[in-house]
Symmetry: none
Subunit: 206 residues, 2 copies
DNA sequence: CAAGCCATTGAACCAAAGTACAGTCTCGCG
DNA sequence: CGCGAGACTGTACTTTGGTTCAATGGCTTG
């Protein structure tokens, strides 16, 4: 099973290579060359923040043996809907850990759909209102709305279990700067540490 | 990983037992007794022709370690929507072959959604994949199975965002003891800190 | 009984996380 | 142009988390 990663620029995340050492990372201009052989595989397509899937993924016809997963910088209901409508087998976080990526691969390779635990609740909320019986409405926690772009980026990595050092390396900044961003995040969201941030972002205890 | 099948009458289909020889079949009156232990598993709930899911599956609160799949005598789009809205990880045909059932289990145990061949093909257009290719048996994460009772208790509190001091106060032990339990948990689960423990327990990244 | 697991704790220690109080640089806006 | 916001960094500090040496007592099981 091959794995191709498509990013805007052909750099990609380190975690991708970690998850699938034999995988290949391409820029979007190489998209048309994926899956020309007979080999089955998974195409991971990164959608950056603010982008619309259908705008960057138009007119691409994948053969049925090539499965397709959207990697979302900023997952949202609409993006998931678009992804599924475009034939994707799933939508997961760009910053997901290697273990998670392999898990996603396992699911989609077996014919399942993967939209993530945390995303599931919001999707369900959009497809049906049945859950709103006890007056509890599935409100979406837009935690990132008050955060700057960089703060959001750091917060996401923290929520996936990364240490300050790892985040620093990933973003090419010092550990000190990571701490600065995090302190700002904690204050803006009125939480006290990274674990609570993770719970908040992952929708465990909203 | 346990499998419970709930039918209107506690007879069930032969194919269910064939798919999971250790599974149990109950009538709907036994539904409330499912998942009272710590054991993780999959609950398969049969919806007969003409029935409405929400009418027969109301007010049932399953713990998060119990996954839930709807077995539909007559699958329809609306039933699938209802199923997902009720927290189901999938919806497949009551009369599905044992191989298919095991495939569904494989997908949902790994956090994926399985919404059946027909809808899947209309969305994804992909054919199903072969099952258990490498003979690798994917299992759900029963993290607490190797932990002692006290370790499990501490781990759960950590996963909810508690600090060591808070845990100590709550359990009437010293902070030192909390640390001891946590160190044991980290080693047994092969993880490095409390954030990863939280992700593991909360099913964000298995 | 001996062996082993479990719960508990202490002292000391190191590493990571987070805070306080700075500063530089860039960029957009009125 | 001045001003504010955001990205970035430094030094120093406190707190928290986690490990490494122990040790004690209860409990079950062969």
């Amino acid at each position: 099973m091959r794995h191709w990663f498509i990013d805007k620029e052909p750099n990609g995340m380190a975690s991708w290579q970690e998850a699938f050492p034999d995988s290949l990372v391409f820029g979007r201009d190489h998209l048309s060359r994926i899956g020309t052989g007979d080999e089955p595989g998974v195409l991971w397509f990164r959608i950056r923040a603010g982008e619309v899937l259908t705008a960057v993924f138009h007119g691409v016809a994948l053969p049925p043996r090539i499965l397709f997963v959207v990697l979302a910088d900023e997952p949202s209901d609409s993006l998931i809907e678009e992804a599924l409508a475009s034939g994707a087998s799933g939508c997961c976080n760009t910053y997901a850990a290697p273990d998670v990526l392999r898990q996603v691969a396992l699911v989609v390779e077996n014919g399942g759909l993967w939209i993530g635990r945390s995303l599931l609740s919001s999707l369900v909320g959009s497809t049906s209102r049945l859950l709103a019986k006890n007056g509890e409405k599935a409100r979406v926690d837009n935690w990132c709305e008050r955060l700057s772009e960089r703060e959001t980026q750091v917060a996401r990595l923290v929520a996936n279990g990364a240490s300050n050092r790892e985040i620093a390396e990933q973003l090419f900044i010092t550990e000190r700067t990571v701490k600065a961003h995090l302190s700002a995040v904690f204050e803006k969201l009125a939480i006290r540490d990274r674990l609570q941030l993770s719970l908040r972002i992952n929708g465990v205890s909203i």
